[in-house]
């Protein structure tokens, strides 16, 4: 009997040590609580609604997670979203909208490259480098739009605003599809490929990785570039969804993206974390926001709650690690 209990204790310990499972458990408990309070929560329509709301932050979180895993940070994602949305909307006035979308994605790739170049080759601390490019990028968006929102109503808007008819009366927004695809791709890259192995190795100990023959500079620059690209994807989806783009579109969204990443168990010191984890992180934030609406809680409390969530999630994680060391 006592032995059984010990085995149970050990298993539970193993579960808690497995970070993704820990986060998943938090997520499950959260969902359960909300479902008990309001049966509307787990209705398919509401689930789709939550997924649609987290799709932008969720997509950007994949790139941000890669950057944070190599012990960097990308503050420019919010501005890249704005610039991408504005570029697409602006150019679509004069050319084929699909080409405009392509150009918008290219801006993200270029700014991502620039971030990588500045932090890796020049050696500016990533926080500062991406703070600088964030403001530069946002400035560009202002210059393009002269500060006035531009309409984005053309066939390419289907990327962000389109819906796929599901059996029954349900409709699946296209951005959710993009998000799921990006997550599947992200998981495969991070767990199955050489690049995935390299990115964790570089984040864990850069010099050691270099001496092992890993091209650490390239690994890091690619991570920044992917982050820029995914932020640009989010920008195109944003413009399509709202059929309009403005220079302040992404303002402040980088804090949400970073929050999703850290709630998802990625360590700011690098080398740790998983894509599944950050999907959970984004989902937890989405569910909490949704619960506020369903339960008619005052919206003024929302920001406070998300902040508390970050402190709790990361706090527990830290305590766990401390216990493992002591």
């Amino acid at each position: 009997m006592k032995e059984n209990r010990n085995i149970l204790k050990e298993r539970l310990g193993a579960v808690m040590k497995n970070q993704e499972l820990g986060i998943f458990l938090i997520f499950l408990v959260l969902c359960l609580c909300i479902q008990i309070l309001t049966p509307k929560f787990l209705k398919p329509a509401n689930i789709i609604n939550i997924l649609r709301q987290i799709s932008n932050v969720g997509i950007m979180a994949v790139g941000e997670a890669m950057v944070i895993i190599i012990a960097g940070i990308d503050l420019s994602v919010s501005a890249v979203l704005s610039l991408s949305a504005c570029t697409a909307a602006y150019l679509a006035q004069y050319m084929n909208p699909w080409l405009a979308v392509l150009a918008a994605l290219l801006t993200g790739v270029l700014i991502g490259c620039l971030n990588g170049f500045l932090s890796v080759k020049i050696g500016i601390a990533p926080f500062i480098a991406t703070l600088g490019t964030q403001m530069m990028t946002k400035g560009l968006a202002f210059m393009i739009t002269s500060g006035i929102p531009i309409k984005f109503t053309n066939e390419a808007a289907v990327l962000g605003g389109g819906r796929i008819q599901l059996p029954g009366s349900l409709q699946l927004p296209v951005p959710i599809l993009f998000m799921l695809m990006i997550y599947i791709l992200g998981i495969v890259v991070m767990t199955q490929t050489v690049y995935g192995r390299n990115i964790y190795a570089v984040g864990d100990n850069e010099k050691s990785a270099k001496l092992s023959g890993i091209n650490a500079d390239r690994v890091k620059i690619i991570a920044y570039t992917v982050s820029g690209f995914l932020a640009a994807v989010a920008g195109v989806l944003y413009a399509g969804n709202l059929t309009t783009a403005e220079a302040s579109a992404g303002d402040g969204i980088e804090t949400n993206v970073i929050a999703a990443v850290v709630i998802g168990g990625v360590s700011m010191a690098g080398g740790e974390g998983s894509i599944i984890g950050i999907l959970m992180g984004a989902a937890i934030m989405g569910v909490v926001k949704n619960a506020f609406i369903l339960l008619n809680f005052p919206a003024t409390m929302q920001t406070f709650t998300i902040g508390l969530l970050i402190v709790l999630a990361v706090g527990f994680d830290c305590l766990n690690k401390k216990r493992a060391v002591k």
Binding site: G13, Q192, T193, V194, G196, R197, N198, Y200, A201, D204, N205, K207, S208, A209, K210, L211, S212, G213, I214, N215, G271, E272, A324, K326
Partner: protein, 510 residues
């Protein structure tokens, strides 16, 4: 003066998840006595010292007595209150502060509500003078000091607390000969001042020079405490290892001489010509033959590590030519070197070697993931498992499973895993920089045997080491460097310590 018992441990136990680090340790530390503690890596020495200085809490049932009174340390501050000071294996100084600020960190001298810089600076100056260290000034920034100078500052910091118990965890590992002598004098002074000194070191000769009693730990168990007059080095080693070790003296047999001489007739695998790195390496040339172990001797700062990093492509040499098997090459990054069959094990395992958050398996495979693809994109998990399991077995890496994080392993086993990493690339040339730094006697012997075997198999080795016996035992030829230049070259079996030292200090030049 009667030796008073200051600190006593009774039945101290400490378990980490999956391992018992310490199991029932009973030790007595007396004032005015230098108590040496030895044991292989992983024997639990550092854990014990961390418990005595309040870093770790021992398991329930453990008892620590301070001057006969039961005490519990919950933090290093608790231990400091009982005048217990510890010098860690790892540097714990604040890099961006000055020497005196570091010395008084945590107990700044104050004048009213402000910090009294003058008084602290003067007090530090006093301490430095007492130790005859005139080249370190209180106002210098720690980040500008060499690692051995930092170690000395660390010692001064501990002394500033006027401790009754002073714990030194491998303090000489990064010290030069001269600095070690200074440390020995400090310990003698402490002894006269009736301080209890606890001294951990892998250098057994050192312990015999300074110690009074010696306690042996093995696999977390307390083996015994002995008077140093009653015991000799071979006896201690067999107590530590729990088995007899083969005598490691160099074999100057004809057969060995012939074998080592012969490798010099083999074809040249690597040729370095006129390598320079500004301010570190100047005009170094040498040839490395197939199956040869070429040793590099020199003092700390002789430019040996920098030379190796230039060859390997981690640093860019400012001039010079490199030929690999007769072909002119220049490695821009280590990646190029690895591609051409050159592997490097760098100095400082913790800083430049292990991937601490990664598993033992990933640490072994880190250099060969691109070679483990099962198709264009994906890494084969089977190949990963097979490669790591092979090296864990072949190199005798003691790990519960390949999946545990490497940082939970002892230093010797970490190093063996890193050997697995560089052997995975099927190297023709190995650059080994201090391959046995801070490793216990047993693992050291295993690594020596491994290096010999590799050379016999035709792998050429560039061996940088600060331990002369190690270089003398392993090398076929030894190149001595001083201030970036090659000052001497010796051939087996004509190695002797005096020659090497005079070349290394620049007093003689060949």
């Amino acid at each position: 003066m009667d030796k008073q018992i200051i600190l006593e441990t009774r039945n101290v136990r400490k378990t980490f998840p999956g391992v018992t680090a310490l199991d029932g340790i009973n030790l007595v530390f007396k004032s005015g006595e230098v108590h040496a503690i030895i044991g292989e890596n992983g024997a639990g020495k550092s854990t014990l010292m961390n418990i005595l200085s309040g870093v770790y809490a021992p398991d329930a049932g453990s008892e620590i007595f301070h001057k006969g009174e039961r005490v519990e340390f919950h933090s290093t501050a608790d231990a400091a209150k009982h005048k217990i000071a510890m010098i860690h294996q790892e540097n714990s100084l604040v890099q961006h502060l000055t020497v005196y600020e570091n010395v008084f960190l945590g107990h700044f001298i104050k004048k009213g509500s402000f910090v009294d810089k003058k008084a602290m600076s003067a007090a530090t100056e006093e301490l430095l003078k007492k130790m005859h260290i005139d080249w370190i000034k209180p106002g210098m920034y720690v980040k500008n000091l060499s690692s051995s100078e930092q170690q000395l500052v660390e010692i001064i910091k501990a002394l500033s607390l006027d401790p009754e118990v002073m714990i030194l965890d491998e303090p000489t590992a990064s010290l030069t000969v001269k600095e070690t002598e200074i440390l020995m004098n400090i310990i003698r002074e402490l002894k006269e001042k009736n301080t209890a000194v606890v001294f951990i070191s892998h250098h057994l000769e050192e312990l015999f020079e300074i110690g009074d009693v010696i306690s042996v730990l093995r696999d977390g168990q307390y083996i015994g405490t002995y008077n140093l007059e009653e015991i000799d080095i071979p006896g201690l080693i067999s107590l530590m290892v729990g088995r007899e070790l083969k005598n490691n003296a160099q074999q100057k047999t004809e057969e060995e001489t012939e074998k080592r001489r012969k490798t010099k007739e083999n074809d040249v695998v690597l040729e370095v010509e006129d390598f320079c790195l500004k301010g570190k390496v100047s005009h170094v040339s040498f040839q490395l033959h197939r199956g040869e172990i070429l040793g590099f001797a020199g003092l700390v700062g002789a430019g040996r590590t920098e030379l190796m990093e230039c060859i390997y492509g981690y640093n860019r040499a400012s001039s010079g030519t490199l030929r690999v098997k007769g072909q002119k090459m220049r490695f821009k990054t280590p990646k190029n070197a690895v591609k051409n069959g050159i592997g490097m094990l760098s100095e400082d395992r913790k800083l430049n070697g292990i991937l601490p958050l990664h598993s033992v398996q990933d640490n072994i495979n880190a250099a060969v993931w691109p070679r483990m693809k099962r198709n264009l994109l994906f890494v084969s998990k089977t190949k990963e498992r097979r490669n790591s399991a092979g090296f864990i077995e072949r190199l005798n890496v003691k790990t519960p499973t390949p999946g545990v994080k490497i940082r939970t392993l002892s230093g010797g086993n970490q190093q063996k895993a890193l050997f697995g990493r560089i052997l995975s690339i099927h190297p023709e040339v190995l650059i080994l920089d201090e391959p046995t730094h801070g490793i216990d006697v047993g693992a050291k012997q295993e690594i020596y045997n491994m290096i010999h075997t590799l050379a016999d198999e035709g792998i050429s080795v560039l061996l940088v080491s600060s331990e002369l016996p190690e270089l003398i035992t392993l090398s076929h030829r030894i190149i001595v460097m001083c201030e970036g230049r090659v000052t001497g070259q010796l051939e087996f079996p004509e190695f002797n310590q005096e020659d090497i030292l005079s070349f290394a200090s620049g007093t003689a030049e060949a």
